[in-house]
Structures are given as C-alpha cells and as structure tokens.
Symmetry: C2
Subunit: 234 residues, 2 copies
C-alpha cells in the first residue's frame, strides 16, 4: 500500500502570513507524524503561537515521545509561556508503522473526517484547544492502517469559508460529495476543498485556511522511493 | 516567483530502511530549511545516526538559530554522543525570506550542483562530514533568491550508482544534460536523476540514495496556497 499526505494552506486575505503552522517529522521507529496548529486570531501573533506549539510537538515526536504525551507537553508549554491567556487548536496525525495504525490526536473542537469505502465518519468527541486550562488533554483515536482510508483535518478557516455571505461551508456534505466521486489521491482532496473554500470566500479568505489530507491507498508508485514535494509561491 | 522543493529517496537494496534522513522545518522569521543527512554505513545503525543529527539541526533551525550554528551544534552533539567514532554527511539548504537568499551549509565532501541559465556551478570547496574531529565546521554559500535557479543536493548513493559494474554515475554530465533539456519543475529533476541511478544499479541500489532539489521558478501556481505532498510506499 501507499501513504499519501497532502497539504494546502493559505493565509487570511491581506495578511502577510498565515497564523497556522504545519510541521512534519519522521517517527524514529518508523512512520511519519504531521502536526497542524491554528494559533489564536491571525497574522504575526497567531503565527508565533502556532509555531511554538507545533515546534514543541514535532521535536518531542521526533524523539519518540508518544503522541498523547507530545500534545500534553505542547499544551503545558503554551500554558506556562502565556499563563493560560492564549489558545491554539492542535491536531496530530501519525502514520505509525510499528503498531500499523493511523493515530489522531485532537485538541480542537473541529471534527476530523475519516472516509472509508463504507462511508464518512466524524471524529468529533468533545475536545478543547490547548493553552487555556491547566489539565487539558487530547482526544486520541487509533484506526488500523488499511487501504482506502482518507482523513481530512483542517483549521477553522475552512469551516468558516463563506461566512461573510452568511453561508458557512457545509463541510460534511462536501466530503460526502468528493467521496461519492471516488476521489482517490490525497492532493486532489486538498485542492478541491481549498478551491471550494476560496470560491465561497470570493478568493479573499476570511481566515487562515489549512487542509491536511492523509490517504492510505493501494500501491500506485512505480518504485520504492519516498517522495516529497513542496510548492511555495512568494 | 515560486519555490519548489522535491525529494526522492530510496534505501539500499534489501535493507529495511534508508540510513539517510531528510527533515524540513519552517524558519520562524520566514522561509524553509531542509536538512539531509547520510549516516555512516547503512541500515538501522546509519538511520539512528542520521536521525540524531537531522533532529538536532531542525530543532535548532526551528528556534531561529542560524544555519552555521545549527550545523556546528549537530556536529558537537554527534561528536559528544559517539566520542568521535561515527560520522555523517550533513547538508542544510535554506530558503531565507528575510535575507532573500538561498543558503547552503555543507558538511560533506560531495559537491552541490547549482544550475542557472548561464550554466552549472559546483559548490565544491573542501568540506568534511560531522562527527569525527573536534572543530569541524561547515562550508556556507549564500546565493540570491533569483528565478531560474535549481540546486541539486544528494547523498553518496547517487554518486556511486553503477559502481557494481565499475561505472559510477557521471553526475555533472547528467545535470548538464537535464539543464540543456530545459527541465523546469523540481520534481522532474529528482525523478529523472533517481531513475538514472536505479537503472545504473539495475534497480537494486548499492547504497541509500536521496536526492533533494530546490528550484526557484517564475510563479506557476494558480493561487497563493502553499502545498505539500508526501508519497510513501509501504
């Protein structure tokens, strides 16, 4: 089989940089962890917060610290640094080759969509952002690493796209539609969702939008190579 | 303009994992750093070494430590941990949006190829791997961030492809050829070089091969989104 990770990320209209941070790190015992953090508000301040939380989490994950402990530590660090005054939404998605699972660690009220041949599931157990309350803990979900699984994780700019016109993005319906179209590769999922969001926001995003798609697919690559591609317009 | 980063990475034939590690991190004041490390020998042991060096470097770069200091620290860490007994080749490529430069930090005897419209240049000043000698320091090259610049960084599995048949890969000639073909996007550079290396190794790589291509191109993206794509065959 083959794992694909795709990310599409835009900043709020007319801000210099996105307040969201995405980082990725190899798990020392095999696999990959991707961390997506949405810092409170937008612009420079939000970026500094999301960067701090994401860095703490990836640095621990890279040392082999388990995901739940990395999320707790990232929370404790933010809570200590900013005395409980700023918050961030934190999601960690890990492909763990030791346990052969997909591991979702959520500190965010937004659900994660998991799409499998039998339908769309929401990981939506109540979960709070990191940074505000002393004993915040993540909600963890572990799924078997099986073919034909697609997970969609995002920051709230996606969910709130269209809000300027009073029509927030019906995300679940969009995910159902892409699923029924039989969309396979991760990049198309991310690009389609981003394009729809930008259209709803008339190409001027009301908030930072980041979309992270992790797909487990039947093997498509012609060789055994791992590949990475980044595109960054300046 | 647009920055593209492409990586293609395979392990030595019949080993469970590559001894090379590639990690990437956002620079806190804007831009991106990519770290490529080739650990001594191959397999598990090499991976543990390259992972340790790469993690130390990205974690410092993520905190805003300058590239040369991050390379020195990664060296010092490996030298201390392994008492000067193991070595690793370390390359850092940074896209620095503050200084508007491409920054190359080499601790490796292998040259880096820089391709611009006027031809192919080699960053080949003598440079030693990290880990062995107390005062190892990197060789640093800073180039302006200009359109139509492509940099090719790699581990020695690429240079030694074909060595089983006594015909090591004439890399400079391959880079000249791709340049004369007018190859633009980063991914094609990485894929073409990998395909040629695998052919020389009869699809059974003699050593871990990693190829990192950083390209500065005229804007091609239809929108302002940053995009990331990872493909990992299992």
């Amino acid at each position: 089989m083959e794992i694909q990770v795709a990310v599409a990320k835009v900043g709020k209209y007319a801000t210099r940089e996105s307040g969201d941070t995405l980082e990725m790190i190899e798990r020392p015992r095999g696999g990959l962890s991707v961390v997506l953090v949405d810092g409170q508000q937008s612009g420079r301040g939000a970026k500094a917060i999301s960067n701090l939380v994401a860095r703490k989490a990836v640095s621990l994950l890279g040392e082999g610290v388990r995901d739940g402990a990395a999320a707790r530590a990232a929370h404790d660090y933010l809570f200590t640094q900013h005395e409980g005054k700023v918050q961030a939404c934190l999601n960690i998605v890990s492909i763990d080759l030791v346990s052969k699972t997909l591991l979702f660690t959520r500190n965010s009220p937004l659900p994660i969509f998991v799409v499998r041949p039998d339908g769309v599931q929401e990981l939506a157990a109540p979960s709070t952002p990191v940074g505000l309350y002393r004993h915040t803990r993540p909600v963890i979900t572990e799924l078997p690493l099986e073919d034909h699984t697609t997970a969609v994780v995002y920051t709230d700019g996606l969910a709130s796209a269209g809000i300027r016109r009073g029509q927030p993005f019906p995300l679940r319906a969009a995910v159902e539609r892409l699923h029924s179209e039989g969309l396979a590769v991760a990049q198309k999922w991310a690009d389609r969702l981003l394009a729809e969001a930008l259209e709803r926001d008339e190409q001027r995003p009301v908030d930072d939008i980041s979309i992270l798609v992790v797909a487990v697919l039947p093997r498509q690559a012609p060789d055994d190579a791992r590949r990475l591609l980044v595109r960054m317009p300046l």
